[in-house]
Point group: C2
């Protein structure tokens, strides 16, 4: 998606350790016009897949998923990290290893909001090692629902998540695909 | 706002300890049509206030704030909880006591995204003791920006946050105002 790639070129910042910061338009300050265009693009890509639910994970996936759910006119569910007092014990859970934050955490979705027959489009901001996406797929399948695919804002193609999950038959559509962040420069595929 | 109050009546669930769960339409599964109506209502209420930025806090405020920012056509900034590797050290921070989660946490906003001259509308899902809202107001003021008001989905009027902050001159508009959750029943003001 040209619009997102241009924005990454112009406003993204690269830091050592293959970190791409898109804090100023995607996951701290958010440009909602860009988000709307991204939601429209996900709708164009998956509109014939019978999507009846959007699933994402807190926190930085929520805004993108919200605008996508708006375009599909279907409910949005966001997986929560960690147990809180305000979530039912009756949840599907999966363990996710975060390389960014250097820890393992539980993600959870209430059993009330994911059901057999649901056709779920998973939305997230980044795909790198694919651990968060694997956890979300695991939860959808525990519920007996179907993953119709994953819509990703930015995929780091030099990390293995996208390749591995595509080999497992998951349809992944990434709006910006990054080949390399070497020399503090963003190179797209 | 009638639509939200009706939804709370129909789908909200009350638990001991004055806990109102709106998990099935507002903060776990999200009805984006309802969200759009809420964003429109916040726009109607604050459209003459010169709002140029929406501020919320992760995670459950993000979707409401996203749809509100969409209606205002201004950027959304969400305050983050805890320090992560991916956020600049150059941040405004404030301490927030969470009664729900029984702990004190830091919230932060990058100094890049909150500036003198900004006219900020704060959006959040709940207002009870007002600690999160106080933290967000503190951050806006540290930046030399102005709080034009706060748009809240659900205010628990039997807890002191709303009254205290209104007495300090903050304009607070809550779409549903709850007088009591006694006997597991929602009573609006």
């Amino acid at each position: 998606m040209k619009l997102l790639e241009e924005r990454i070129k112009n406003d993204g910042r690269v830091f050592p350790g293959n970190i791409l910061k898109v804090d100023n338009f995607l996951n701290h300050q958010i440009d909602v016009s860009l988000l709307e265009a991204m939601g429209e693009e996900f709708y164009r890509l998956f509109k014939d897949s019978g999507v009846n639910k959007i699933l994402t994970i807190e926190a930085s996936g929520i805004a993108i998923a919200c605008m996508t759910a708006y375009k599909f006119n279907v409910p949005l569910v966001f997986a929560k990290k960690n147990q809180t007092k305000n979530i039912s014990a009756d949840v599907y859970t999966s363990k996710v290893t975060s390389y960014t934050h250097g820890r393992v955490y539980d993600i959870m979705v209430s059993k009330d909001y994911m059901n057999p027959g649901d056709r779920v489009l998973i939305i997230d901001d980044f795909l790198a090692n694919g651990k968060a996406l694997e956890g979300l797929i695991d939860i959808v399948r525990q519920a007996g629902a179907e993953v119709v695919g994953a819509g990703i804002a930015i995929e780091k193609c030099f990390q293995p998540g996208g390749k591995e999950l595509r080999e497992q038959g998951i349809r992944i559509e990434s709006l910006a695909m990054i080949k390399s962040l070497d020399n503090n420069t963003v190179t797209f595929c």
